[in-house]
Amino acid sequence: MNLVTKTNKYYLIFFVFLFPLMVGADYFLIQYVVNKEVDDVLKHESERINFNLKENQVFPSSNYILNSIPVNEYFSVSDKYRDTLIYEAYADRLIPYRMYEFKALIDSQKMKITLKHVLLDMNELIVWLFVTTTLVILLLVTGLFFINQGIYRWAWKPFFENLSKLTNYDITKKNLVNLEPSNISEFEELNRIVTALMNQVKTDFQNLKEFNENISHEIQTPLAIIRNKMVLLLESQDLKEKELLWVQAVYQEANKLSKISKSLTLISRIENQEFTRLDSVDISVVIDNIIGNMEEMIQFKNLEIVVKLNPIKVKCDQVLANILFTNLIKNAVQHNFKGGHIEIFLNKEKFEIVNTGEVSEIETTQLFKRFQRGNKETESLGLGLAINQKICEMYGFQLDYDHYEGRHRLSLYFNS
């Protein structure tokens, strides 16, 4: 839910609660004011009558008099207001009235005089109150809605522009994000903080990258020396069985380290966009060469291979294309049973390789991560698919994996 919808939602909730409150409050307030007014009128009338009686000894005529009843000397008459209903013949129904009783002396006879004043029809009042309040609220809501919409469009414009810029931000790319300035201080503050944050992240990323590159670079020469010395040790021939195993283990681990380092360097170099060449690579030729190179391995594993290639040219780096397809085909050979199948298809849209093999328990998404191996027992490092993923990301290829009926299928779409 975006900000403006959310704001409007809360406005609406607020008004829904406010509405009956307003109607109720209005009702009681108006009733109070009207009653007070009526009471004042009646009080005033009673005083006029009393005055006339005292000064002129005349009982004045009044429209308000309901009745005047002579009462006993001791009958107490309190000055009080009452609400009552009186039947009016013209309307054929009960009409609400306000009544006021007071005592007066007419010809030394004590009288209880009752005054009446018709009251407003409260039902009607409520209806009208409801209508007017609703109208006011509707006007307020629509007004606020449009103002909100306008503010959202106009004042938040730089915010949304910056948002889209930040969405497209890629730390591995060299270009920096220039945030739109704004005259709203909160947005300016946000821009300042985000810029500072980006610079910090960029610096950290750069440092980390350099560190990685230096490590994998500097490690190579010592590794070469370790390997050479180990071979010399193995060649010296006067090793005991136990020592031999140690030396062999060191040698193998040094080899593994070297391979890891080489693969990681390759990944980081792909990430650094160091492969900028765009050769027009004929993928079918690349695949033919790779299959040629592995032909004997395929025979050795007694694999049945079906290859259907349509020539297709793709703009990419020749070296990377070679690595990518070598990895894919090699995996199909490697993770296969003796006497298994491989099927390779290539057309304009996609490259597809299907092979028999043990179905691994790894989630598909995990498969492309570094050091993730389908089968822990093999000596593979689990970097092949991570490298492939990087290459595909770089050229916008899409690499999908699925398995069916004990077959692995990797599909590579060239233009996704």
Partner: protein, 224 residues
């Protein structure tokens, strides 16, 4: 042949020098740009082994100078950088081959021999070891002058062995020679084992001696 090795890491330099001298080469060394440049320009060598990163300069400049002086020498770059850009640059300015550190000395040796053969004999020279004769350009192997048909990988193996005779070749070095970098073949050792067995059988069938010896479980040696 006479080889100049330019490398700033003394240990690695010693390893290379020892290995190449044991192969019967004359090997000189240089550890920095200045001395390397002096030697390369003044003395005649068959092969230069050049490390790109040197304390006081880059190996690429040495190659440029050598090429500018029109000195006829085979050049192999050894670099830890493994950058394709470097490789392309190096080969463009006139280097003949490129090896990424860490490399196997046997691989370096095989590359040096192949390069020397190409340069000195224009590729026509055959490699001969007792009754075995290898013609690298035609990918042919003769035993007692009888042509022996081999698969491509079998040829690569025997060629690699003969180039590195009397040295221990680890399985890893052989695998990398056969399939190159960036390929980790899970079954490669079994593959090598089987192909070596086939190769032995073929050679003995043609009346050759079995020169391939298994060294513990780590690798093989091709020797008398």
């Amino acid at each position: 042949m006479k080889i100049l090795v330019i490398e700033d890491n003394i240990e690695l330099l010693k390893d290379i020098k020892n290995f190449l001298e044991e192969q019967g080469n004359v090997c000189e060394i240089a550890t920095d740009y200045k001395s390397a440049f002096m030697k390369a320009v003044i003395f005649p060598y068959d092969i230069l082994i050049v490390d790109i990163t040197l304390p006081d300069g880059t190996g690429l400049d040495i190659i440029k100078e050598v090429k500018k002086e029109n000195i006829d020498v085979g050049i192999i770059i050894i670099s830890a950088k493994n950058a394709v850009g470097d490789k392309v640059n190096g080969l463009e300015i006139g280097a003949d081959d490129y090896l990424t550190k860490p490399f196997y000395l046997a691989e370096l040796n095989a590359r040096i021999k192949a390069l020397y053969r190409r340069k000195a004999y224009k590729g026509s020279k055959e490699v001969i070891f007792n009754e075995i004769k290898i013609s690298p350009d035609n990918h042919e192997v003769f035993i007692n002058d009888r042509l022996m048909t081999l698969t491509k990988k079998e040829f690569d193996i025997i060629h690699f062995f003969v180039a590195n005779r009397n040295r221990l070749l680890t399985k890893e070095a052989i695998a990398e020679h056969l399939w190159g970098d960036h390929i980790e073949m899970a079954d490669s050792f079994n593959f090598i084992y089987t192909h070596l067995a086939n190769l032995r059988k073929k050679i003995t069938k043609f009346g050759g001696k079995d020169y391939i010896k298994s060294i513990y479980s780590v690798g093989y040696k091709f020797s008398e």
